[in-house]
């Protein structure tokens, strides 16, 4: 086990600092990389020997070893169990990451997505054998269309940013059809980074619009930017300051007045679902993050799903495939012809994130029209409760009420020597995932807190008490403790500068295998 002891050395530099010999700290168990546990000849899968055949690979059979490690099943199970125990998760506690809507992920949804009638469907089966799957997608589309008031849905985008791309490409296609080559897209300074990145990817130039002193789009500044070269505006509503754009109808009228389109980033739809229909606000297209509003699990970074609802003016350009209902049941349109002749091509392989569709529909059906309306109200109530319970110790960036998330800046920490980052790291030691830090960019030292509707009042009260205690501690000039935080985690603060300066992005054997050495 020399590899293990080597790895142990890397984990826990021996010395007086380490409280244990192993480097482990009770339930926090150090775990080497898979590659450091390799033992040739081990496998976690039993497969029969392959039948003896003459291969049909031309002369292209692999000759060199790949270098994958061999582990047995118990080792693999233990490895990933230990890794999992180094993660914070919604299942473990409050996860108030603003703009990310980290709400409870019901396990019923996991169970249903795994029904063989969904999980074992191949995307290219004859449509007659997948009528239930197509009906499920059509039902999901119906719910989303009713909730948004929009007439059409593009189902294939795989995540929010992919949905943005879909929406902006539909706008480009519509403008092309009108014979117009408008190039400018207006994006508020408070927008998610994906908005300007997407606009650029779709071939537009980005023109930022400032916020007013109330944290909303500055309507006068917006109007001053309008012209015949403006293609679209991208607005998040409620916006990333947690505020409803109360002049949104005037914004939509102004945008439409110059012949441009209104894209809405639907990341914050959770605040208004069941209460406000985006169509009534003048929105022409909007992506919906099923992994936020409709609770499909975020999985440590995906998969998501970002279907896009479209106004009638953009619907003909929805990317392929389309699901339509005809005399012989549901069918898929997979080529740009007939009624789909103006469709954008494909945005990904196959038909969209089916596994996420099942979960999202189960979530919606569980809530029903009544539960969804209650959920958005509770999300907004929870955020406002945090706002009033914290506004004397933290500085709200803008007056309330807020929507589903509340934005504070770092003015309250002035002269304490404690930054937003320090406060976040101290929260980690207290057992909480921090809020979103330093976003949006329009206020200094932003702390964006989104509790979601699935947190109880008791949980919020405890969090409020902890936050108040931490601010009091900061005001007592105990900044040194903050700078050292977190201290009780599997790792202390990590050196991100070193990681970027000399990137180590994969494991490599310390001694190259013989075949490589022979090169």
């Amino acid at each position: 086990m020399s590899d293990w002891s080597k790895a142990l050395g890397a984990f826990a530099p021996a010395g007086a600092d380490s409280p244990t010999i192993s480097g482990n700290r009770g339930l926090q168990i150090e775990e080497p990389l898979l590659f450091e546990q390799d033992m040739a000849g081990r496998s976690g899968v039993d497969l029969p020997p392959p039948p003896d055949v003459t291969d049909r690979l031309g002369a292209l059979r692999r000759e060199r070893p790949i270098g994958l490690p061999g582990l047995s099943e118990p080792q693999v199970v233990r490895h990933f169990t230990r890794l999992s125990q180094k993660n914070y998760a919604i299942d473990s506690g409050l996860y108030p990451l603003g703009s990310c809507t980290m709400k409870h992920n019901p396990r019923l949804n996991e169970k249903l997505a795994r029904l063989p009638g969904f999980a074992e469907l191949h995307p290219l089966q004859p449509p007659a054998t997948v009528q239930g799957a197509l009906e499920l997608i059509d039902t999901l589309a119906h719910w989303l269309k009713v909730l948004t008031g929009m007439p059409a849905l593009a189902l294939s985008p795989a995540a929010g940013a992919h949905g943005e791309l879909c929406g902006l490409m539909c706008i480009r296609a519509a403008l092309d059809t009108r014979g117009e080559s408008r190039k400018r897209v207006l994006v508020p300074e408070s927008a998610h980074g994906t908005n300007p990145a997407t606009a650029a990817l779709a071939g537009f130039t980005v023109d930022p619009i400032p916020a007013n002193e109330r944290g909303r789009v500055d309507l006068a500044a917006l109007k001053a930017k309008l012209g015949p070269d403006v293609a679209a505006i991208m607005i998040t509503n409620p916006n990333t300051c947690g505020l409803f754009e109360n002049e949104i109808i005037a914004i939509a009228e102004a945008i439409h007045g110059v012949g441009a389109y209104f894209y809405c980033d639907g990341a914050n739809f959770n605040a208004i679902v069941g209460r406000v229909r985006p169509a009534d606000l003048g929105i022409d297209c909007m992506h919906i993050n099923l992994h936020k509003t409709f609770s499909t699990p975020h999985g440590g970074g995906g998969p998501g799903a970002g279907p896009v609802v479209l106004a009638a003016s953009l619907a003909p350009f929805a990317p392929l495939p389309w699901i339509v209902h005809g005399r012989e049941g549901f069918r898929l349109i997979e080529a740009a012809e007939g009624e789909a002749r103006q469709a954008l091509g494909r945005l990904k392989a196959f038909h969209g994130q089916m596994g996420m569709f099942v979960r999202a529909l189960a979530y919606m059906m569980s809530h029903g029209a009544d539960g969804l309306r209650q959920a958005s109200a509770d999300a907004v109530l929870n955020a406002n409760y945090l706002l009033v319970r914290l506004d004397d110790v933290l500085t709200p960036s803008f007056p309330g009420p807020c929507m589903h998330e509340v934005l504070f800046d770092d003015r309250s920490l002035k002269d304490t020597g404690v930054t937003t980052l320090d406060l976040a790291k101290a929260l980690i030691d207290e057992g909480y995932h921090p809020m979103t830090m330093y976003f949006p960019l329009v206020v200094h030292g932003a702390m964006l807190i989104e509790p979601t509707e699935t947190e109880s009042k008791e949980t919020l009260d405890r969090f409020i008490a902890v936050m108040r205690g931490l601010v009091a501690k900061a005001r007592r000039k105990e900044s040194t403790a903050f700078h050292a935080a977190p201290q009780l985690t599997p790792r202390r603060r990590l050196d991100e500068t070193a990681a970027a300066r000399k990137p180590v992005l994969r494991w490599r054997p310390t001694v190259p295998p013989p075949s490589k050495a022979a090169e």
């Binding site: 970074g301 998969p303 919606m364 050196d495 992005l505």
Partner: protein
């Protein structure tokens, strides 16, 4: 509602604390004309029993591949997923965590991503891989954009046997970016000489291996031709299990490798969610799209992991980012990593050998049927048959008998004159009985 912890008493107390007379008062910023007062015309809340019943009824209207003799492939493959995979990815600490933005409490996800990146680099024969893309097709489009950035050239050649969904996704991404894409027509019968088309204007050539019809290509001569003219070779792999038996794209000179990773650990799930793999050479890493996990040390000098080189990404670089991707396929990448960890070198190469051998067996059996011709002299686990009549009705007829015989080429290349081609995939899950059912079905339907 079972997911909402607030009671009416809580709500009243909280409204009082806020000083709001009602819930509606919290929505005062919403223009009154846009406020919906009543309930939407949608069903009311349901318990677990009702929801499960309703969705199980929809599921029952489908024919799962596991209940049929299935030979469907073309970018999505039915493989055995070891039981431990699904158990481990459902641990709440993986399932219900966010992107690892707070590394001190995300070391599990970060170490897993570092392991995923290493596995992807190893099997593709490349230096470095990212933390995943949405799927193989979007990874392909991103690779073309990256090649354009790297070479400052605008022209891309797509091989005729690149999966049409990869081709179409690339065309969609390129449509408004001003790239010139030359998508070659499919030529299932004859080898394509792309090397002759590579000029000094070409940013990259995209080829698939094995090709969409099944052919196994030696890419080394094409790589040489590309490099001689300053172009990059992008290799797409739709069936990653093939990398256990076929020489890796890296070994044959690829500059960027993109792949669909679904075959490892991920259910077919009617086409998604899947996991895109993206690997390249060290020297190109700063132009890569997507997230990267990297090694570093913590304040006590202990090894740990962080997301790194994020100045390429949208949340820092905004409109100048290498891609707009944010959420990727984290949990699918985890499933991939666990499955490949269980297989290991011995299991992965053996699994590939079994797939190949079983495919040869089925190919020989069906090619012996009068009127059927095997079109692909080389293949891994997927081959193309020419039938004496249009394939689509044959496939529909066989589906009625519980045999999912393969994908008609006309579904992927409509109007390309390929109506008589059937693409058949065989994996370790296909039994001898499946093979017999396919052969017998074809024999009878073609009689």
């Amino acid at each position: 509602m079972r997911y909402l912890p607030l009671t009416d008493a809580d709500r009243s107390a909280m409204l009082a604390a806020i000083g709001a007379p009602s819930m509606d008062a919290l929505f005062a910023d919403v223009p009154p004309a846009a406020q919906v007062k009543g309930l939407f015309d949608l069903p009311r809340a349901m318990g677990e029993i009702e929801v499960e019943r309703a969705l199980a009824q929809l599921a029952a209207k489908n024919l799962p591949t596991g209940a049929a003799a299935s030979f469907l492939g073309c970018g999505a493959y039915r493989h055995h997923i070891p039981a431990a995979v699904d158990h481990l990815i459902q641990r709440g600490e993986f399932l219900t965590s966010y992107t690892p933005y707070q590394p001190e409490i995300s070391q599990g996800t970060l170490q897993m991503l570092f392991e995923f990146q290493t596995q992807v680099a190893l099997i593709t024969g490349m230096d470095v891989a990212n933390a995943s893309m949405y799927d193989g097709a979007t990874a392909c489009a991103e690779a073309v954009m990256m090649a354009n950035r790297l070479t400052h050239r605008k022209k891309t050649i797509l091989a005729g046997d690149l999966h049409p969904h990869y081709r179409d996704t690339t065309l969609t991404y390129a449509r408004f970016a001003g790239f010139d894409i030359v998508a070659r027509a499919p030529q299932p019968d004859t080898p394509e000489n792309i090397a002759a088309l590579v000029s000094e204007e070409v940013a990259c050539v995209v080829v698939q291996n094995p090709g969409a019809f099944g052919h196994v290509h030696d890419l080394a001569p094409l790589a040489e031709a590309c490099h001689k003219r300053g172009a990059l070779l992008v290799v797409a792999v739709t069936e990653v299990i093939s990398l256990g038996l076929i020489k890796s794209p890296g070994e044959m000179g690829a500059d960027i490798v993109v792949a669909e990773g679904q075959s490892l650990g991920n259910a077919l799930s009617f086409g998604g969610p899947y996991v895109g793999l993206f690997a390249t050479r060290d020297k190109f890493v700063r132009q890569m799209p997507g997230r990267l996990a990297g090694e570093t040390v913590d304040a006590e000098g202990r090894r740990g992991w962080v997301l790194t080189l994020s100045t390429r990404e949208q949340h820092i670089r905004r409109e100048k980012a290498t891609s707009n991707i944010c959420t990727n396929s984290g949990l699918c990448a985890l499933a991939f990593t666990i499955h490949l960890a269980l297989l290991g070198e011995a299991g992965f190469t053996r699994l590939a050998a079994i797939n190949h051998a079983r495919a040869i067996g089925v190919a020989e059996q069906v090619a012996a049927i009068p009127g059927i011709r095997l079109l692909t002299p080389t293949f891994f686990n997927e081959f193309t048959l020419r039938l004496p009549r249009p394939v689509a009705p044959v496939v529909d007829a066989l589906a009625k008998r519980g045999v999912l015989a393969g994908v008609p080429a006309s579904r992927l290349w409509p109007d390309a004159g390929l109506d008589d081609l059937l693409i058949v995939a065989v994996t370790e899950l296909n039994t001898d009985e499946d093979a017999a059912a396919l052969a017998e079905g074809l024999r009878e339907v073609l009689r």
